[in-house]
């Protein structure tokens, strides 16, 4: 059984720097196609250069190829060739299976129309039918976390929400081959983690993926091997570390220009303990209508002083539906070297008549990487208070006895 899903053989693509000449070449090439005269070329015309040249590689099921290279190295051209948007001037590409591209998230979104309407439009553009979109609607909305905004115009969405919605629709393609072009930096840290997990699921299910990213962390996270492009040609292919080492060699000064990738080791930062998150609810008869507060205390261990911020997501009991998400506090927090405590306070939490789960993501401000992820901890509702603050918010702190629990997920990126 042949597991190869992509085979590229001697691929070459010319582009022209001069706009007028480029347009004229398009007319000539189109005319040549129409008389079935276009049989591939080996030479360049005036003003042209090879955007890709001599590219040969193959990709099997379950593999993820990290495509790296500086701007203008030919990565996007290669993805366009693989996606069939442009055709090669030399060589061939053979693709087996359904190809899905996470490239233009939210392509075709109309800002005037609602999120629901745009889900149908974008889904149909990506090849779904109305029926299949209707079936996937709840999943898309849950994944994007926009249920409260589903029937409002997309123009009222933040840019992050739009990209999240675009990603949630695009990831429903379930392709055999997945093309990802710089789309892993979407949304907040918790959403990124959801995206990572979904992509991991797709690859684990036997799909192949080609990932373009300038973030070494992303490539290292997914890629089983890498391909370094330089001036349109393959500079290095194989082990990810070797390709990154070669990447820095072939671009003098790149190691100084780019921040060094920070790989957080488990011993460098971890959440040692946390108290059970507690929802503080008012004692009044109509207490369910009053927003509440969730609090938890974390004990941290850090190998050095660093700035972090905390992102939170409040989930339904089933862990499927996002109720609330955001950043805890307005400012970053300085975590000292050694052991320290951090109080996390989330308010106001809309009154919800069901039990909740809390996820926390601790992110390094310097590197933008996740340091730790506390996944879906059950939120206790064990405290009642008479302390009513401004606008009916309950400002009381938890009075229950803190309970220590082992940390479930620590040190992402190790």
């Amino acid at each position: 059984m042949n597991d190869q899903l992509i085979v590229c053989d001697g691929l070459g693509k010319r582009f022209c720097r001069n706009l007028r000449k480029s347009l004229w070449y398009a007319v000539k090439d189109s005319a040549a196609e129409l008389v079935a005269w276009n049989r591939g070329v080996q030479s360049l015309r005036d003003g042209e250069f090879w955007a890709n040249q001599g590219i040969s590689f193959s990709l099997k099921r379950g593999e993820c190829l990290g495509l790296i290279g500086h701007n203008g190295a030919g990565k996007t051209t290669l993805l366009k060739l693989l996606n069939g948007l442009i055709k090669p001037d030399v060589g061939t590409i053979a693709i087996r299976g359904r190809l899905g591209a996470l490239i233009a998230l939210g392509a075709g979104f109309n800002p005037i129309l609602t999120g629901r309407e745009n889900i149908y439009i974008n889904g149909l553009i990506l090849g779904h039918t109305r029926r299949s979109i209707a079936k996937r609607m709840d999943r898309i909305v849950d994944f994007a976390g926009i249920e409260e905004f589903l029937d409002t115009p997309v123009r009222t969405y933040s840019s992050g929400m739009q990209v999240r919605l675009g990603f949630a629709i695009a990831i429903e393609q379930n392709p055999d081959i997945l093309l990802l072009d710089e789309v892993l930096a979407v949304g907040d840290a918790a959403f990124q983690l959801k995206c990572f997990n979904r992509i991991r699921e797709i690859i684990s299910a036997g799909s192949a993926a080609i990932l373009v990213s300038h973030q070494e962390m992303h490539i290292r996270r997914f890629a089983t091997r890498a391909l370094l492009l330089n001036r349109g040609q393959i500079e290095c292919e194989g082990d990810v570390s070797d390709c990154f080492a070669r990447y820095q060699e072939c671009e003098p000064g790149i190691s100084e220009a780019l921040p060094a990738p920070i790989m957080v080791q488990p011993e460098e930062f971890r959440v040692v303990r946390y108290t059970a998150p507690t929802l503080v609810r008012e004692r009044r008869a109509n207490a369910l209508k009053v927003p509440s507060v969730i609090t938890t205390d974390l004990e941290l261990q850090s190998s050095h002083e660093q700035e972090i911020y905390v992102e939170y997501t409040v989930w339904d009991r089933d862990g499927q539906r996002t109720r609330l998400a955001g950043m805890s506090g307005q400012n970053q927090v300085t975590v000292p070297r050694g052991t320290s405590n951090l109080s996390v306070r989330i308010e106001p939490v809309p009154a919800i008549d069901r039990s909740l789960r809390l996820s926390l993501v601790l992110v390094s401000c310097r590197a933008g990487v996740m340091l730790s992820y506390l996944k879906e901890i059950p939120v206790e509702v064990s405290v009642e208070s008479d302390c009513i603050g401004r606008d009916g918010l309950c400002l009381a702190l938890a009075t229950s006895t803190p309970r220590s629990s082992p940390v479930r997920v620590v040190a992402v990126g190790s």
Binding site: S30, G84, I93, A94, I95, I112, L124
Partner: protein, 302 residues
């Protein structure tokens, strides 16, 4: 040698086949897809049929997006033919222009001509406009371009039927009783759609590369409007008479008026010739767009 199978032949252009394991296989090569013309035609037809839902949704999207933020909403759809008619009525009543007796009430003559002409112009402009509007999608995702073109055409057709509603009060006011030939109007409507769309799709490849096409169409159409019997009956003699006689829009314009008012079938044979020619040109143009699409996308930028 085919990379996946020892039984398949290497072929040119984007080629779709079904492998033994039921996974689709595509091979992209520099060869022209015209090396396998029937396969190409089958793909274009299949994509058109497959994209019915997308065409409908894109049509609705553009319609909703245009009017959702408008106070008067769909009222704007009725305005162009009404305004054109009012302008010519005014000029005619003030003797600014002298029009020979067209044989039917002049307002009826003008409004039918305006509706047919404006629909033709919209159909002509629509494919290039729809293609250019869809460029951000085409340059990133592999989508059937025909769906975007067809959605634009559907919009022009929808507007035609809205325009046509204006005819009802006009016929009542001027006491024009349509003859039995009104039953033949679908033929003339088909002719309008066919010729407008065919010429519009024909312009897409060039119009997507050079902006000249989009700039030239309004200028050219303003001139051609007077070289067609839109607001005045065709003169019998002179250069204008000759140009109008050989204008392919003349039988459509005159024929639509005749079928709706006088019942004459004089222009029907010419219309019946225009239809198959236009449909053929339209389909060939769609295939041409499909063939040259990779070259157009390559010039859209990254």
């Amino acid at each position: 040698m085919h990379p996946f199978s020892d039984t398949s032949d290497q072929v040119g252009g984007p080629r779709l086949a079904v492998a033994s394991s039921a996974m689709p296989e595509i091979v992209y090569s520099p060869d022209s897809p015209l090396t396998h013309p029937w396969r190409l035609i089958r793909q274009v037809v299949a994509d058109l049929l497959r994209c019915r839902e997308l065409i409908w949704v894109l049509f609705l999207r553009d319609l909703k997006a245009q009017f959702r933020q408008s106070l008067l909403g769909y009222v704007w759809l009725f305005m162009p033919p009404i305004v054109t008619t009012l302008v010519w009525l005014f000029l005619h009543s003030q003797r600014v222009v002298s029009i020979s007796d067209p044989g039917i009430p002049y307002p009826v003559f003008v409004i039918i001509g305006s509706i047919v002409w404006q629909t033709f112009v919209k159909l002509l402009q629509s494919p290039v406009a729809a293609f250019n509007a869809g460029k951000p999608v085409f340059m990133k995702l592999k989508v059937p371009v025909e769906a975007f073109i067809a959605a634009g055409t559907a919009r022009a057709i929808f507007e035609f039927f809205i325009y046509a509603i204006v005819l009802v009060p006009v016929f009542v006011i001027y006491q024009v009783v349509p003859p039995w030939t009104i039953a033949l109007t679908p033929v003339v409507i088909l002719a309008i759609f066919a010729i407008g769309t065919a010429l519009g799709v024909l312009l897409v490849p060039f119009g997507s590369l050079y902006t000249d096409v989009q700039q030239a169409i309004p200028v050219l159409m303003a001139f051609l409007m007077y070289m067609a019997p839109v607001v005045y009956p065709p003169p019998e003699h002179g250069i204008a008479g000759l140009l109008i006689r050989y204008n392919p829009m003349t039988p459509i314009l005159m024929g639509s008026r005749d079928l709706l008012t006088t019942g004459s079938l004089e222009h029907l044979p010419a219309i019946l010739i225009v239809i198959p020619i236009s449909l053929s040109v339209g389909f060939v143009s769609l295939v041409v767009v499909r063939i040259v699409m990779p070259h157009l996308v390559a010039r859209m930028g990254m």
